[in-house]
Symmetry: C2
Subunit: 89 residues, 2 copies
């Protein structure tokens, strides 16, 4: 395996990693074991990476972080929605 | 805010993001709502990024991914441990 294959595989794995978590959370709506702080940090952090990528005109950086921002954003909103519902009960 | 401050803040947020999740999971041992596929991908992906970082001699890349590999690794092992225990019951 060449080093660029390793880098490419690393990028695919870490970028795609939130797809199964988002799928699971959308399907089950169960968010109790997820840390709200983690998903807030991921959501805000990847948006900032995206802005940084736009500024330095780095398309792979924008693409990877745009995907992660969307997925972590979905999980984040499902988490705060569930937390809000529990509080209102 | 300068663009390097945005990049630095992005790096701190996305690197530190797994600290609260690892803390929560260690404390509660509750992993039901976590996707095992997500944490497998994150763990393997960040190890590959670390190897890539070693090869291209990029210290920030190694540091960030070393931290994330450790934290996602902890969550991953707690998840498979809990899954194994449920199966044995």
């Amino acid at each position: 395996m060449t080093i660029s294959t390793i880098g490419m595989l690393a990028a695919i794995l870490t970028t795609g990693a939130y797809i199964p978590q988002a799928y699971k959370t959308i399907k089950t709506r169960q968010t109790r074991d997820l840390s709200i702080v983690t998903f807030t940090m991921l959501f805000v952090g990847t948006i900032l990476w995206f802005i940084y990528g736009m500024y330095i005109r780095d398309t792979p950086l924008m693409l990877a972080n745009g995907i992660t921002a969307t997925l972590s954003g979905i999980i984040f909103f499902l988490k705060i929605n569930a937390t809000g519902k529990r509080r209102r009960r």
